[in-house]
Amino acid sequence: MIAVVRFPGSLDHDSAIRAVQAVGGQATYAWHADTELPAGTRAVVLPGGFSYGDHLRPGAIASRSPIMAPVRRHADAGGLVLGICNGFQVLCEAGLLPGVLRTNQSTSFVCRQVELEVVDRHTPFTRELGGSLSIPIKNHDGAWFGDPATTRIVLSYGAENPLGAVASAAGVANAAGNVLGLMPHPEEATDPLLGSTDGLGLFAALVRA
């Protein structure tokens, strides 16, 4: 069972659940105010959105929610946690991933398709992915800021760097590789009708776990 955490202001929880189902998995919601993950949780998704309206700093308020304690325990025990966009921001604010997501260089929201390079294929998420992925980004605060020397950068935008991230980072993992955050939205690339199916691999990794 994959737990998709729902905060007030989460937006992409339904899409995340559909993406898990599209690769044959089962998913259910975890509620932000709960103090335990749903029984039988094998992996956790923190979906995109504007939890708490992105007020103060994106992800900051959600990262202090009760549900984050069991998410942290799950991660510490080696369980997989995938944070997408706002979920990535939450993981950074919670200290489960290094760095922080800052306002885009353009200072505006950017919604468009991007090409990603898989630069670290040794995480449970990326082992079976192709070398490059076409997945959309859509965010206002998606420029990763941190220390590239000490961070596992897993996905990069290549040379283009549309948001102004340090080291062109699009997705980073913790040292163990079981917690991954990325700004692009794999749940928006899960069907040929949507223009790409390159997002399915990340959900398949969760289901395999």
Binding site: G53, H55, L56, S65
Partner: protein, 78 residues
């Protein structure tokens, strides 16, 4: 060169959704006795010229603050 500090705060009576969200979050973190939280901006300007405060005030009127919903103050840092 002069450093001018501009503060821009939501006007009294104007909805402050950010402040509300932060107040709620602080309460959930266990802080008690919070009666109000208001969120605004602080802008630090390094200016050159004879009238830095006047310049800052004009910048507020033209760009830095939205007079419909925000009040601003300018001050020399010190």
């Amino acid at each position: 060169m002069t450093r001018v500090v501009v503060t821009v705060m939501p006007r009294d009576g104007v909805l402050d959704p950010q402040g509300q969200a932060v107040q709620g979050a602080l309460g959930r973190l266990g802080f008690a006795g919070i009666h109000d939280v208001r969120l605004g901006r602080r802008i630090e300007l390094e200016l050159e010229g004879p009238d830095p405060l006047g310049d800052a005030r004009r910048m507020c009127e033209q760009l830095l603050a939205n007079p419909l919903i925000e009040d601003f103050t300018v001050a020399l840092e010190g």
